[in-house]
């Protein structure tokens, strides 16, 4: 009788047979029986744990399916570093940043290629020394430490790209590139810096470094902004009030 029939108005449905299945008279249960109560408690606990387990499993399955679903999605136009999951399977982190600089591409490339210029805006670079295709960098690290990195030039495309990677003589493993592209309508140049690196002590090291603002992603962002300031305005903005002001 309770089968849905679209020709029948709702009021004519007989709902009694549906209710009967669930009809429990709670007053008839014997609540005074200790044994029955503790067994009910045990059953209740087991049920609750079971439910929690099922919920956890459901979440795990959900996460797995979500990841699988994302992995199967067609690629979009975003650069790799904008991916929501930044972990790379080889344990390297990717940091990158793009800035728009209102200067011609050729001028920016030329300035960047002369490593002696870099210390003008790279605050964390304590020292650079270049010998042929190799350069030795002393870079400020958290807690007053510094790391030494030797890099070799991997690729050079005139006015477009410089890429490098660290050699065995380095304290951290890193590779990266800086790319220069024309921005539309005379807006200047898009400058992109991408650095891949193995954090010193894994994720934890990365987190600590970030706290001290030495994480390469933050470094890249700050240094590119300083580069932009230097190229566009000829100086790097400071709100210091006098020369030895350290606020």
């Amino acid at each position: 009788m309770s089968h849905y029939d679209e020709r029948r108005p709702y009021s004519e449905y007989d709902t009694d047979d549906y209710d009967a299945d669930y009809d429990t008279d709670w007053n008839e249960l014997d609540w005074s029986d200790e044994h029955a109560r503790s067994s009910r408690v045990a059953t209740g606990t087991a049920l609750a744990l079971g439910a929690a387990g099922i919920a956890l499993a459901a979440v795990a399955v959900g996460v797995y399916r979500h990841k699988a679903e994302i992995a199967n999605r067609p690629a979009d136009s975003a650069p790799d570093r904008a991916a929501k999951d930044m972990h790379r399977s080889d344990g390297k982190a990717v940091a990158g940043k793009t800035v728009l600089i209102n200067r011609p591409r050729v001028e920016l490339f030329k300035f960047w290629e002369n490593y002696d210029n870099l210390q003008q805006f790279m605050k964390n670079v304590e020292h650079v020394e270049t010998q042929g295709d190799k350069s030795i960098w002393k870079i400020a690290a958290p807690a007053g430490q510094s790391v030494t990195v030797e890099t070799e030039l991997v690729e050079r495309r005139e006015n477009e790209l410089l890429s490098w990677k660290s050699t065995a003589n380095s304290q951290i493993e890193t590779e990266g590139h800086i790319a220069f592209r024309d921005a539309p309508a005379g807006r200047g140049t898009y400058v992109e810096a991408v650095v891949q690196y193995k954090p010193p002590v894994g994720q934890f090291g990365r987190m600590i470094a970030k706290l001290f603002r030495r994480e390469p992603g933050v470094q890249a962002r700050h240094e590119l902004k300083r580069f932009k300031m230097l190229m566009e305005t000829g100086e790097i903005a400071t709100s210091h009030h006098y020369i030895h002001d350290d606020v």
């Binding site: 305005t233 006098y242 606020v247």
Partner: protein, 400 residues
């Protein structure tokens, strides 16, 4: 030197601090002759703008004499200049578009992280207005360091006294841009919330730009009187239901453009309208620190504006606002224009208007004090707003 410094909510003092020095090639050092307290300084004074630190020198409306120049400054020693409150490099994408307050390069890199997190992109640098906008020392002082001095400062002729040109630094171009953002057309009625200095200049600018009628709203009788003296019709929200009055005065359609010259500390503590009731909630949240902005005037402006009209917001906001009437904004199809003023875009044109006596800039100055009396100026500008309509500090004056 002596300078007005921040020490906490409602605690500003004149301290002796180190003199500023030339740091970058485009810098100049200005010896201040006149510097004003801005209505937006009261947001700092009231502690509702974050990242203001103890000892910060306030003040962003100032002018004076060039006493030192960096090697790339185009200024000359001895020149009299008015300095825009917005610091702009003049060569980035934004500056090229004459959107000077959106300058990419004037907020120091380390300070950019804060607003990048708050707003999506870092804002430009401003003088004396928290570390969100760069942490620059302000001009309520004897001297100030002016970065990018080849772009911002405008040289003023000797025959124009300080009081006539000082407001080129902020409130005059701000009122002017507010009217420009209202995109006034023939026959328009423009309603202006707030008869502080920016609201008053918005009234004058809107009439100058051809508004048929300007209606100014406030609750201080003297400030309303000033608006009236410049040609506005006035509404006192203590005695009048503003919404009803605006509709009745415009044949039921509402003002064509509305200007919120109030900002984040709106008054209107009553239960007489939807907008005011929401403002009560905002006030409580602002007091206990869980809400940054108070939006009574803004909400009322949106409710009152005619369908398809324009909303111009020179008033300062810094955080989040609840119960924003987004439905009214969208369903009525309002155009919104706002932002910190692109001061450098307007200074030349406005200096001409002053020189030709086409705009009165001195009538709103109620008090001229020595720099030493600046704390008194803050207190009264806040507590006795009816009489203290604009305070100008002159370091050369003797303390009272």
């Amino acid at each position: 030197m002596r300078a007005l410094t921040f020490h906490g909510t409602h605690d500003v003092r004149v301290d002796t601090v180190p003199d500023p020095e030339i740091i970058n090639p485009r810098d100049a050092i200005i010896k201040i002759t006149s510097t004003a307290i801005c209505g937006s300084d009261l947001h700092l004074y009231d502690g509702v703008i974050p990242a203001v630190l103890e000892g910060d020198i306030l003040g962003h409306e100032f002018m004076g004499e060039v006493v030192e120049t960096g090697k790339k400054s185009t200024l000359k020693k001895g020149q009299r200049v008015v300095v825009p409150f917005t610091i702009s490099c003049g060569s980035c994408f934004a500056c090229n578009k004459k959107q000077y307050s959106a300058c990419d390069n004037s907020n120091p890199v380390e300070k950019q992280d804060m607003t990048e997190m708050m707003f999506g992109q870092a804002v430009g640098g401003l003088f004396g207005y928290s570390h969100l906008t760069g942490g620059y020392s302000g001009g309520q002082a004897e001297y100030v360091r002016v970065p990018f001095s080849d772009v911002g400062p405008i040289v003023v002729p000797d025959e124009l006294e300080d009081d006539k040109v000082l407001f080129l630094s902020d409130i005059l171009p701000t009122g002017w841009m507010a009217a420009e953002n209202a995109e006034i057309e023939d026959g328009d009625t423009v309603a202006v919330w707030g008869c502080g200095p920016v609201g008053l200049f918005a009234v004058q600018s809107a009439l100058h730009m051809g508004a048929h009628r300007v209606i100014a709203i406030d609750h201080h009788p003297h400030r309303l009187e000033l608006a009236k003296s410049k040609g506005a019709e006035i509404l006192d929200f203590k005695q009048t239901n503003v919404m009803e009055a605006l509709l009745e005065m415009t044949g039921g359609i509402g003002p064509d453009a509305v200007i919120d010259a109030v900002g984040m500390e709106s008054h209107g503590f009553a239960f007489d309208s939807q907008a005011n009731m929401m403002n009560v909630a905002d006030t409580i949240k602002q007091k206990v620190g869980i809400g940054a902005d108070r939006g009574g005037a803004l909400r009322e402006a949106i409710f009152a504006c005619r369908k398809g009209g324009r909303l111009s917001m020179p008033g300062v906001y810094g955080g989040y606002l609840d119960k924003f009437p987004l439905g009214a904004l969208m369903e009525k199809g309002l155009q919104v224009r706002t932002g910190q003023t692109h001061v450098q875009r307007y200074t030349k044109e406005l200096l001409e208007l002053i020189r030709e006596d086409k705009i009165d800039t001195t009538y709103m100055i109620s008090h001229r004090l020595s720099l030493e009396d600046a704390p008194l100026g803050y207190k009264n500008f806040k507590d006795n707003a009816n009489e203290w309509t604009k305070v100008v500090l002159k370091p050369a004056l003797e303390p009272a």
